[in-house]
């Protein structure tokens, strides 16, 4: 689905992402792993055009020039959900559909469908973000990201701000949802256990570079260098 060719990001001379080439297959689950500042969030932001970059990103073969035009095919969820506090949960969810001129009946049907998928009821959807729990906020954020029926979901540490019980439950639900929808998923996390849980291909990054990629089990059994070994060991120990 994605084809990255020498994608490169630097802010004022500081390299946030070294020239990176990468392809992401349709339906693939890709986990971006690494310590803070390793460039994994920057790479994810490139995938939805939020970060300026040099190089080429192709979506289904075509180089992306106008990101706004392709964003309706992409869903984006960040750590605390990034919900707009002045809109109700439902207001957050329907914003993009309204922008793209969906009819009310179609919007209503889609909201019901998604509410069922993530397990929220009407009463919860009527609340404002400040009146929802952390887990509920992430469910609303998922609904918002899925509203237009995107081809890919881009998630930036979607579970990090949650307590362990909620995190476990939501992680399970997300894995089910990904499997059911069969969509491309790129998820940033710093947790090896999350990476293991969601499976698929993992990319380990450090200082803006990809250090090693492959199934998590492969990273664990054959770390490419001392950093990978140390990172995996530290992640497993704590």
């Amino acid at each position: 689905m994605y084809q990255l060719d020498a994608v490169h990001v630097s802010f004022g001379g500081v390299e946030a992402l070294a020239p990176t080439s990468l392809s992401i297959a349709k339906g693939e689950t890709l986990v971006l792993l690494g310590p803070s500042g390793s460039g994994k969030s920057t790479l994810l932001r490139c995938l939805i055009g939020l970060s300026p970059y040099d190089g080429t990103i192709r979506l289904d073969g075509a180089p992306v020039r106008d990101w706004r035009a392709v964003r309706r095919r992409l869903g984006y969820v960040i750590q605390e959900g990034g919900l707009f506090p002045h809109l109700s949960a439902r207001g957050n969810v329907v914003l993009a559909a309204r922008e793209f001129g969906w009819e009310t009946s179609r919007i209503e049907a889609r909201v019901m469908e998604l509410a069922q998928l993530v397990g929220l009821d009407d009463e919860q959807l009527a609340r404002f973000p400040a009146q929802l729990s952390g887990g509920q906020r992430q469910r609303v954020a998922m609904m918002r990201a899925l509203m237009l029926g995107p081809d890919a979901l881009l998630l930036d540490e979607p579970l990090s701000a949650l307590d362990p019980v909620t995190r476990l439950r939501l992680a399970g639900e997300l894995r089910d949802i990904f499997a059911r929808l069969g969509m491309t998923v790129v998820m940033v996390t710093h947790s090896l256990r999350e990476a293991r849980f969601f499976g698929g291909r993992a990319i380990l990054m450090r200082d803006g570079r990809i250090v090693q990629q492959g199934p998590v089990a492969e990273l664990e059994s054959a770390p490419a260098d001392e950093f990978v070994a140390e990172f995996l060991a530290a992640e497993s120990a704590l």
Partner: protein
């Protein structure tokens, strides 16, 4: 240059129709309605075309202008009085510019202050100089308000002094004159030379203290203006200027030559109605007995005083509230129309912001009094320059808070909005402005409260409002009058605070209110 012309709606006076029939423009109809509201507010600020009489900011001038207004109304000529506009220069400029049609002036003031550079030899030379400027003086009212020396009536009797030349025979008298009079070239030195008063020792004294010193017997002679209320109040005698040393300050109306001849006839009809003693008496009644200028003017014209003073106090309060509200509302409305887009643009374009924000800050540092007076040459007197000044002072809080509100939005929210594929317009209208709204409203509220306070200064350039009684109160040292303006102004500011509080509550999105948190 009559700047008010810009604001006066045409004869039809209709605001532009909102182009609501065009769907794409329908959303803009909010702006049109705002503009229409502003246009509606303006007629309360500038009236049709009655004869406008101005007055300077001292009692005598107000009484004389009030006499002119009453006399014109007696002659069925619509007239209005714009009170206490300021000093001689402001009034002269206003009549020359056509902001007012006439005002009471003194021949000496014209010769020695306003037209001093022409070095006119006598009052007769004034006429032709004024004519070339489109102005003329009415026939003299009958008194001169110039320099003179005064002495207590009992002292005058005791020493048999009635004329200035009598002073030469009494070098034992204690003479204290105002510091200004000691120093002036045509002051004490020239006077003493003209009357041979060299043997008299003279001291300087503050003019206001001089009357008290005189009545207390510490001094015997001081300089006065010939129609000072205190002359009547303290039972003083003005010494006759028997050698015609002092220049005449004959009072008359300075009017525009394009004034309706019937009105000119009325002003000339006031000639000889007053003399120094009568004017002094009127000044005393207003300044010391607390009579209104209007009643004093009625008395001078031989008209019956009108009853119902108490009723008219509420009427006055209502009028001033309307004037004050209109000043603040129009200025704030205009400021919103300009400052809001400016704040948005400044937030969007940091380079523009780094220019606009310091500039609006700079405007704020101009002393308010200076700004009001600086705007007179551009916009005349009255509501227009006041609104312009209030508008300029309102820019900073609104621009700054709009900028701060928009740039203070958490980056993850901006990212989320962009990631959703929303257009810039939707992002601004549905996400960014609502999130910045509480901050923006706080700025508008600050601007409104500042404007309510500053609008009181508008009275010094004839804008009316709550500043009018404050100004009059200061002139008459009447605390009651000062409070009559200051209290409503303070209450008005509080009401605005409160109204904005409610308004903020009503339009702040529910999710942003503190009560939304649980």
């Amino acid at each position: 240059m009559n700047g008010r012309g810009i604001l006066v709606p045409g004869p039809s006076g209709t605001p532009p129709n909102p182009p609501s029939s065009i769907p794409g423009v329908a959303k803009r109809s909010g702006w049109w309605m705002l503009c229409a509201l502003l246009l509606l507010a303006i007629p309360t600020l500038s009236h049709a075309k009655p004869v406008t009489i101005g007055s300077k900011k001292f009692t005598e001038s107000v009484i004389l202008a009030e006499m002119a207004r009453l006399a014109l109304e007696q002659a069925k000529i619509p007239a209005q009085h714009r009170r206490e506009l300021g000093g001689s220069r402001i009034l002269y400029d206003a009549v020359e510019a056509g902001d007012i049609s006439a005002y009471p002036e003194y021949t000496g003031t014209l010769r020695f202050e306003i037209l001093a550079d022409r070095k006119l030899p006598d009052d007769a030379a004034l006429g032709s100089v004024l004519a070339r400027r489109g102005l003329a003086l009415s026939r003299p009212l009958g008194f001169s308000d110039g320099y003179a020396l005064a002495i207590r009536a009992d002292t005058a009797r005791r020493y048999g002094i009635a004329r200035l030349s009598d002073l030469a025979r009494h070098p034992e008298l204690t003479v204290a004159v105002s510091n200004e009079f000691v120093d002036r070239a045509d002051g004490w030195r020239a006077l003493s030379a003209a009357y041979g008063l060299g043997a008299i020792k003279v001291r300087g004294i503050d003019h206001d203290l001089a009357y008290r010193a005189l009545s207390g017997g510490q001094i015997d002679v001081t300089d006065v203006y010939t129609t000072d209320a205190e002359i009547a109040a303290y039972d003083l005698v003005v010494l006759k200027d028997d050698r015609a040393f002092f220049p005449r300050y004959d009072a008359a109306f300075l009017y525009r030559r394009d004034l309706d001849p019937r009105a000119v006839a009325v002003l000339n009809g006031l000639a000889g109605r007053l003399d120094e003693a009568k004017m002094r008496e009127l000044n005393r009644k207003v300044r010391i007995d607390g009579m209104s200028e209007t009643d004093a003017a009625r008395e001078a014209l031989g008209l019956a005083a009108q009853a119902g003073q108490e009723d008219s106090r509420w009427r006055r309060l209502l009028d001033r509230t309307r004037e004050h509200f209109a000043l603040v509302a129009v200025a704030l409305g205009l400021a919103l129309v300009i400052a809001l887009p400016l704040g948005i643009a400044s937030a969007r374009l940091p380079r523009l912001g780094s220019l606009v924000l310091p500039l609006t800050g700079l405007l704020q540092t101009i002393p308010s009094l200076a700004l009001f007076v600086m705007l007179i040459p551009l916009l005349g007197i009255g509501a227009a320059p006041t609104i312009a000044a209030l508008f300029l002072y309102s820019l900073l809080p609104i621009v700054r808070n709009t900028h701060a509100g928009l740039t203070g939005i958490a980056p993850p929210l901006l990212d989320s909005a962009e990631a959703l594929g929303l257009s810039r317009r939707t992002r601004l209208l549905r996400i960014e402005l609502p999130l910045a709204l509480p901050t923006i409203l706080a700025g508008v509220r600050t601007a409104a409260v500042i404007a309510v306070g500053l609008a009181t200064l508008g009275a010094i350039i004839g804008a009316g409002g709550y500043g009018q009684p404050i100004l009059t109160g200061i002139r008459l040292a009447n605390n009651g009058l000062i409070l009559e303006g200051a209290v409503p102004a303070a209450v008005f500011a509080l009401v605005i605070e409160g109204a904005f509080h409610l308004f903020e509550r009503a339009i702040t999105p529910r999710g942003l209110r503190p009560s939304a948190r649980r």
